[in-house]
């Protein structure tokens, strides 16, 4: 059955009128619920059906009309006499539509019914998205406008939330049409769970869903709902054996703060969602917090990025790591920072995704290697040995064809072959292009560089995969360390990850140790390296040396 036919049948299935799909050989392949309940239930083909569906004027006329529709591929309608399931004979309007593959769709309307089923069917088609059967953009705007005119208190808040899936269209090229449909339906299903309490839920563009909340709306509640939505997609979607990691952003506009008509409210929410998508995926934002200036700011940041590396506006700080078993600071992670001459401090959460989009991430990473090399030399000069440095790597870097050559150049020319250098790759990165990532990481390890899996525990690495990954260290995400002293469940999970990592022969780093109480728990694991504000905040080079020279024992 073609994709399109299936969409139409989905809509017709719930209509209050009979509908029948007739195959090329006149067999009936599908009937809708209304037809099953009100018409006949035992017809196997149209010839049988025609015994009961008698054309008013001529016995053969009905079949002729059907043949005509098939051959000319043109719609036709007629009136027939029809016997209902209780054998009562009534007149019935029939609309006959040619479908793909020589099939016909018959929509039957008993003349005793008041409303025009035909019009109703067309209206349904015009108002609903065929793939998801959700209201489409036109109908959504119509309903929203109606709601706004019904708002009795002008100060009553109403919010429009756009859930924008990044590059959803591209799945078409990866999946078959059926899988693409299933993916959409799964997205709809997940969103239905959170949207059922809210009045409007629609598919307003191929990759965008909209939810309207109108009762007891406060920004805090809306924010909570946005977080809930993001949370729904933390786990991948399984579609016919493929695991799809949905990347999304949620844009929120509020009535009457952001606009006083449906069209502008929708546009503002959409604009917010796409602005967020440019800076940070899997995040949400409010339209009123995204003034026009922000767009200019993002543009300026992108334009200034190339010069920022050269002017050393982008620089690196060092987040120290403490080895519990050795009782000393034994390594540091390099973190990029940007002090813009006009805009001031720009968060890495903003400029790193932009650097990734513009390809500048390659240069930022190269600079990190240079800094690491300089630091190794400086450490050597001060007689500090066995101090590792970790550089974060974007997954795009690993897949860029010149990266291995560039890395090789740095290792050789900057004399880092025998240095304890780690590349950090986040857990979620492994999920994309799994086999290519594995090849790249193996090649990097062959160069003598170690691999750290960053943010472990926040992604979806199955245990089976974990044992096969070419990594040296698991870096346990800060969310497992937070409140480890008071939350028994956290403590159990942390222990389980440590035990598993040790059994698999991986080194362990625990991120985000911030309080003495958390440290007391983590300290029990002697083989763990720790980092976090309890030990030290990220430091400038000279501050790091001061820390190391104090030879602090904690």
């Amino acid at each position: 059955m073609s994709n399109n036919t299936e969409d139409i049948l989905n809509i017709l299935h719930v209509l209050d009128t009979g509908a029948v799909l007739v195959e090329d050989d006149l067999s009936i392949s599908w009937t809708n619920k209304y037809f099953d309940q009100h018409y006949f239930s035992d017809q196997k083909n149209l010839t049988d059906l025609c015994r009961d569906l008698k054309p008013v004027e001529d016995d053969n006329a009905f079949l002729h009309i059907l043949e005509d529709v098939k051959s000319k591929k043109e719609y036709a309608d007629t009136i027939i006499e029809c016997h209902l399931s209780d054998n009562e004979a009534v007149l019935c309007d029939v609309w006959i539509y040619p479908m793909s593959g020589e099939r016909l769709l018959l929509v039957c309307q008993l003349q005793t019914q008041n409303k025009t089923a035909h019009c109703e069917a067309l209206l349904q088609m015009a108002r609903y998205d065929p793939a998801t059967t959700l209201p489409n953009r036109i109908y959504f705007l119509e309903m929203l406008e109606e709601k706004l005119t019904q708002q009795q208190h002008p100060e009553a808040l109403l919010s429009i939330m756009i859930i924008d899936f990044n590059e959803l269209d591209t799945y078409d090229t990866v999946f078959s049409i059926t899988s693409d449909e299933l993916l959409l339906l799964t997205l709809k299903e997940r969103l239905t769970d959170v949207s059922k309490e809210h009045t409007l839920f629609a598919r307003v563009a191929p990759s965008k869903f909209a939810i309207v909340c109108e009762t007891a709306v406060t920004p805090v509640k809306v924010e909570k709902l946005a977080q809930e939505i993001l949370h729904l997609f933390y786990e991948p979607i399984s579609v016919e054996g493929h695991l799809v990691y949905a990347e999304l952003s949620v844009g929120i506009s509020l009535y009457p703060t952001d606009a006083n008509n449906a069209k502008n409210l929708l546009l503002k929410a959409e604009k917010t969602a796409s602005a967020i998508q440019k800076t940070e995926l899997n995040s949400y934002g409010f339209a009123h917090k995204l003034p026009e200036k922000n767009v200019d700011k993002i543009l300026k940041i992108s334009t200034d990025l190339p010069a920022a590396v050269e002017n050393e506006e982008i620089f690196f700080v060092f987040q120290p790591q403490y080895c519990l078993d050795e009782g000393r600071f034994c390594g540091a992670e390099l973190l990029a920072r940007w002090e813009h001459p006009e805009l001031g401090f720009i968060s890495p959460e903003i400029f790193i995704p932009l650097a990734e989009q513009t390809g500048m991430i390659r240069t930022v990473t190269m600079k990190a290697f240079m800094e690491a090399s300089k630091m190794f030399k400086a450490l050597e000069g001060r007689g500090i040995k066995d101090f590792s440095l970790s550089v974060n790597i974007s997954p795009n870097m690993l897949l860029y064809s010149g990266f291995m050559e560039d890395l090789e150049f740095f290792i050789e020319s900057y004399e880092m072959a025998d240095k304890p250098l780690y590349l950090e790759v986040t857990e979620n990165d492994f999920a994309r292009n799994f086999s290519k990532m594995i090849d790249a990481l193996n090649a990097i390890r062959d160069m003598g560089i170690k691999i750290e899996m960053d943010d472990y525990g926040t992604g979806y690495t199955s245990l089976q995969y974990l044992s096969k990954l070419p990594i040296d260290t698991l870096k346990i995400d800060r969310s497992f360390v937070q409140d480890i002293d008071s939350d028994q469940q956290q403590a159990v999970l942390f222990k389980a990850i440590c035990d598993m990592a040790s059994a698999l022969g991986y080194d362990i780093v625990a991120e985000g140790v911030e309080t003495e109480a958390e440290n007391l728990v983590v300290q029990q694991y002697k083989n763990v390296r720790v980092q976090g504000y309890y030990y030290s905040k990220p430091l400038q080079v000279n501050e790091l040396f001061e820390l190391l020279e104090k030879a602090v024992v904690l």
Partner: protein, 123 residues
């Protein structure tokens, strides 16, 4: 055979990076390469005066002038010298393009930079 290259940039880490990249080209180039470094237009002119260069790679924006001044000076002395400009904004120097054999866009990546050096030394 020995090729002599002058690199000009006021940012120390870039100068160091370029020198290292040229050094690694030398390994598979089949000829030896001598690299001189300068950080200003004045220093560069002095070196050009004193030596013959097969290739000059200069940043466009230097503390005491532009890469174009170095290019003009070098071409006056020896037209056979190949000259490449390094800049973040190549479009800004469109009118001066005639003085250069190539414009390299900054920031530079080792693999791309090495490939460009090989091409210029061959040509």
């Amino acid at each position: 055979m020995t090729k002599r290259i002058l690199i000009v940039d006021d940012v120390e880490f870039i100068l160091d990076f370029e020198a290292k990249a040229i050094e690694s080209v030398k390994n598979d180039a089949g000829f030896s390469i001598v690299v001189d470094k300068a950080s200003t237009v004045t220093d560069a002119k002095e070196l050009v005066e004193a030596n013959h260069y097969d290739l000059i790679i200069s940043d466009m924006n230097l503390p005491d002038g532009t890469g174009t001044e170095i290019a003009k000076f070098a071409l006056d002395k020896d037209e056979s010298t190949r000259i490449a400009a390094l800049t973040i904004y190549p479009q800004r120097y469109e009118s001066e393009r005639g003085y250069f054999d190539a414009f390299f866009k900054k920031p530079i990546l080792p693999s791309v930079f090495k490939e460009n050096i090989k091409l210029l030394l061959k040509a």
